[in-house]
Amino acid sequence: MTAGAAPVATRERELDGAQVRRLTSRSAAARATTTLGTRLLDAWSTAASTAIALAMLGGWLASVRDTIGSRPPTPGSALPGPLTATVAAVVALAGLVAMLDRLGPVSASPAAAAWWLPLPASRQGLLRAELLRVAGTCAAVIALLSLPLAMTWTDRPSVGTVLLAVAGAAATAAGLVGIVALLQTRGATSRVAPGAGAVAVAVCAIATVAAVTAPLARSLGHLRPPHLPSGGVLWVPAAAVVAVLFLVLAERGLGRLEARTLRVAGSTAQFAAASVLSLDTRDLGRALAARRRRPVARRWRFRPVTRAWQAVAAADLLLLARSPWQLGQLVVATGVPVLAARTDGLDRLPPVVWGGLVVGWALAAVAAGHPARQASAAPGIDRLVPLSAAQVVAAHCVVPALLLCVVSGTSGLLIGAGSGSALAWAALGLAAVPAWTAAAVRGGYRPELDWSGPVMSTPMGAVPAGVGATLVQGLDVGILGSILAVVAVHLGGAPSWGLVVGQLAWALTLGAGAVALTVRRLGEPRT
């Protein structure tokens, strides 16, 4: 190693944050292989695909609105539509806040953490562009998603009304980014995601209770429902000012962010992005899963466990008991079918009601399948117990079955509350449990996508053949296994006991077959 004098440097020649970013991007761009024409074509393709998707969504929403308007009110519906829409909006925003907290929102990629953060450049200058990028992206996405809603909220929305609504949504999203980023700079994010989750669960639970409690529903119905503002209302500029204020406060605190915080958030964001690109939903779930921040308060001793299958079930129960997100998801899953079935307007559309049933039970199955996913990721744990593969998978079905009994039985009971057929609806929900239990476990042991095999060319790029079948594996069993419950919703009125028995037999048959297929695939050698 040739000896040389130590480098000489001066403060005046140091690069500031913006200069560091510019130097990096200029160096990278110097060897970019894409031309301006290619990038314009990609932008056009993305814009066209987005416009088509939004137009289809808007058209569907408009037809739903027109259908609701053309049908007479259903007796027994309790919740006004705008209230349910508010609940949905609150849950969606809570999800956005939780995701922002998990991903930073300000972060540094591993390369930036290694090569930018150790420079003397002001951290505030280095990270300012990152904060603006996150705020801009969130605002743009929320604005796009709110566009079809704003255009179909009323029969004849004016351009001004739609623009105000979209701008208000964008300002709200940017403001949320500012708030979470400000908390990040103050080191006060430990409660953000749990708080957002608690708000979502509480709002959903209150709305669910209100849906079956007439007095509560009436009092909530007196609350002023949200409506699109007419021109000249100041709430949108006010929201924009508040958003700018929080973003400015957050920007001023960027220098307080520690390298390890930025590096962890950046690694999480990179992992999540890679999961999305590789269509690995389980890795995406792991990337966004909350980290345990507090030590375990209570240690279980498992005294009632005397057999191997009981040990598996007890471990699954313990894992779920220590997973607040999955528990919250189960509460929301109980409420979704009830809200769909007892909201004025939505209850006039059988597809919406059975769609709510399926979505709610699918959410519950995904939450209950958490132990199976963990077992699939660490197969050595399953091999510790003296059970065959079939017995282990069957043992992993115990806890999901119990939880799904609670969720689907409760949601069925609440749907039928006050109609004189609550027990029949509860029985119908319980009859679908075997199918959704199998869905939970089958989804947990779903195989990884095989990127080494044949790929198909799609507008999203190359994807492995059979990607659709792989991604929905698990939920397919649940949806097929609930077919008679869907029929009951379509027919309307109280479900007959014959239908309930038929649903149970069908769910048991399908569920047993799905579990058997899962066991057989686990026993196959990996190629």
Binding site: T2, G4, T10, V20, A32, A121
Partner: protein
């Protein structure tokens, strides 16, 4: 044997620092001083906590207990003065995929305000045997070349304290010896060095003080005993 005495030019000092992750302490509390012109080596078996101690001493992990000071104030990697003075090559290599080896080093040199960045980068590329790979992207470099690139980045800018975590990893014997000679030369010119290593020859050549990191106690070693440590034999 023992650590450097108290002096006015102590750059980094740690007093009863407990290093760990979360609430779990990984080794006994550490007390040390790293003055200018002196090299301190941390040795110990795998899993002893050397890397965790290094990360705590440079402010990348919070100390569970005790105090770490850089100069007259607490260690704070958010301070520009700390970043100007301290260079670290730990076990977290990452590179911009679209920047060549040369561009990575130029980014570091220019970022620190080096007066002649191109010449400095050329010199260090040559010193670390990367001249032929200067315009290669990180994906085209071998793991050893990427390691050398990370080490070169510590020398293309002014530095008062150099922190290295197992710098010998993925380096061949000749490069290890050259690195040891470079560290000795720069140490004699006033550079403070803090390193963790399993390489007996590197430790024996470079280190003035050797601290054994263990679960129950951390103690200063005689250089002869340190050679046994790095080869896996714990002293009684």
């Amino acid at each position: 044997m023992g650590n450097a005495p108290e002096s006015a030019d102590v750059l980094l000092s740690a007093h009863a620092v407990a290093a760990g992750h979360g609430d779990v302490q990984v080794c006994a509390p550490v007390t040390l001083r790293v003055p200018a012109g002196r090299a301190v080596a941390l040795v110990g078996p795998n899993g002893a906590g050397k890397s965790t101690v290094l990360q705590t001493l440079v402010g990348l992990l919070p100390a569970l207990d005790g105090e770490v000071r850089f100069g007259n104030g607490p260690v704070d990697e958010r301070q520009a003065a700390f970043r100007r003075a301290v260079a670290q090559v730990l076990d977290d290599e990452a590179f911009f995929p679209s920047l060549t080896a040369r561009e990575h080093l130029l980014l570091t040199a220019r970022g620190h305000g080096v007066v002649e960045p191109e010449e400095t980068v050329i010199s260090e590329l040559d010193a670390f045997g990367l001249t032929d790979r200067a315009d290669a992207l990180p994906s085209a470099l071998s793991s050893g070349q990427r390691r050398r690139l990370a080490l070169a980045a510590a020398f293309v800018r002014p530095v008062r304290l150099l922190v290295l975590d197992e710098p010998e990893r993925r380096l061949d014997v000749d490069m290890r010896r050259a690195l040891a000679a470079r560290l000795v030369r720069d140490r004699d010119r006033g550079l403070a060095v803090l390193l963790a290593s399993h390489d007996a020859e590197l430790v024996r050549t470079v280190a003035d003080d050797i601290l054994l990191i263990a679960e129950n106690e951390c103690r200063w070693l005689d250089p002869a005993a340190a050679t046994d440590i790095v080869t896996g034999h714990l002293p009684p």
